[in-house]
Subunit: 340 residues, 2 copies
């Protein structure tokens, strides 16, 4: 059973055929990382104290005043000895999350980082400003927000609004949900505090990342959609394709030069249970408006609603869903169609 | 020129000979990660508000009250298709730092993670509780401390006490220092806030890590020394060797069963400029006392002061120093001597 999704492209669904490119191993030249973006800022006027950091150690003088780096991003890469694609694939996570989004899934099975390594791409996974290994600073404006388990369960559409229970056994999920819900608590260990004031810092750091490692393919998730659209607008010659997994926002086409996006093929993928979900209709609307404008200007913006294509039960965290490989197949087929 | 450091072991210094095991590539089976440790805790009584997280998105209701995971650790692994060692090598970072300690150095050259992958080990690099991808929580006791650039420069012995200047051009370093000091600001992007109250959580998470992936070799740095000694005491049958890079603390031999450590070969490595440095004499003293007790009990605790072995200028961050490969050679030679 095969479904026709894009013009000229067929998609094999639900593991009916093992992907031809799957490999049991790949030759790696280097696993490495770097920091990019950020700048120095100073703190002053804080009290000095005596502290001991390790048991059995004598206290020492702690002066919290001085210079710090703020606004940097962390990027980890796996460079293959013989990549099959000349372009690296960059993976940008969503809000309140880190690059771990793309790694091993909460159920312990391989995620999209490993999938695209197996498929032969050099893969760059970043932790954006303030998240994960990018570290965080007292100097970011305002208190951070913290995602509860309830918010994660409902916002990511594992279950409908008000379906979460503190008692894991009582949590209601959407019928046939693809998220490995028995591993939901494990998943929430990835949640990271989030400021609402660091967009400018993040945009600057992503721009430096594009300057450093592109031309490239960019795959974004959720809040990363905003940064991905922005990067494509500012670097249409360097971003050879933009894959958007449920982008939660998009620039207003009336306020940007939409024609700049003509040379950047785009693909947005949406999971199940968005219809009739006001919050998610809201999140999807800006991307739908931008898509229309891009298509009018002659650009390519493909749009896949997974349930319309016969794949049901997918959540906002579809790269962690049980059928994540099939969704990755879809992305890879689309990249192949675009010669990437 | 070769120096005899351990009985029956010679060490090639300063790149006089390329290590025989260096490889341009290695076959990888899986790059992956997992969270371990931690537990659920609830927050209540905080005010509800309306927020927008992405430009162009309508505000939504933010309720910060609910359940969260706290106390977890993040572990990333690279599993080889054909590892040369049956034992994985675990790398545990120091205080105010993350697993990035072991990755690419601030000067962009490969660090110890890549060295030991090239040498044929499966390598597990963790971010301990509260650091990096392990995330952090409002529920940790007390405010975190923040490491200034000055503290990093002086505590890590890039320069002597009071040698730091906010003006990078005016920073005085030790003569012949091996740290790539022109990349010091880049290095400080790795610094991460640190609580003084999470030792019990960290010990619990490290124990779960040992339960999950050992028997193994453990390589620790600085604050990680405390966790490494502790893990060896509690799992002497599973930790087949413990390599300590400038451990900043150690258990009091009078308060532990030192004989338990008899089966765990240990190696401590110390850089330059510790003699005459009161703070560092203090840090080294507990390990020196433990070493004496271990040796009396018939155990193996080797001790290398790099300047005494002819390698000068090394800092507390010796895995980032220009001659980091030579120090890694020393570690590898020692592991080889112990059949690992």
């Amino acid at each position: 059973m095969r479904f026709r999704i894009f013009a000229g492209l067929t998609l094999s669904l639900m593991g009916l055929a093992a992907p031809q490119f799957a490999r049991a191993e790949y030759a790696v030249k280097e696993v490495g990382s770097f920091y990019i973006g950020g700048q120095e800022q100073a703190v002053s006027g804080q009290p000095i104290s005596e502290i001991a950091t390790t048991p059995g150690m004598r206290p020492f003088r702690y002066d919290p005043n001085g210079e710090f780096e703020v606004g940097q991003m962390y990027v980890q890469y796996v460079r293959q000895a013989r990549p099959r694609s000349p372009l690296p694939l960059l993976m940008w996570h969503g809000g309140g999350l880190t690059g771990v989004t793309w790694e091993t899934k909460p159920d312990g099975k391989p995620g999209w980082q490993q999938y695209f390594l197996n498929a032969g791409y050099d893969v760059y996974v970043s932790d954006s400003v303030e998240r994960g290994r990018a570290s965080w600073s007292r100097l970011y404006d305002g208190p951070p927000i913290f995602r509860t388990k309830k918010e994660g369960w409902e916002l990511f559409r594992i279950g409908p609004p008000d379906s979460y229970s503190a008692d894991a056994a009582k949590r209601a999920s959407y019928p046939g949900v693809q998220f490995p819900k028995e591993d939901f608590d494990q998943f929430t260990k990835e949640f990271t505090p989030r400021w609402l004031t660091n967009d400018a810092r993040s945009i600057a750091a992503y721009q430096q990342l594009v300057d450093k490692v592109c031309p490239c393919i960019v795959v974004v998730h959720s809040q990363g959609g905003f940064f991905g659209y922005n990067a494509a607008l500012n670097n249409p010659e360097k971003i050879k394709a933009l894959v958007l997994v449920e982008p939660s926002g998009a620039p207003d086409p009336a306020k940007i030069e939409v024609a700049k996006l003509k040379s950047v093929p785009m693909l947005a993928i949406w999971g199940d249970n968005i219809k009739g979900h006001p919050l998610w209709q809201n999140f999807a609307a800006p991307s739908a408006r931008l898509r229309e404008a891009v298509q009018v200007s002659g650009g390519t913006f493909d749009w896949v609603s997974l349930p319309d294509a016969g794949m049901t039960g997918n959540t906002h965290m579809m790269m962690m869903d049980k059928n994540s490989d099939q969704i990755a197949d879809l992305v890879r087929d689309w990249l192949t169609k675009h010669g990437l």
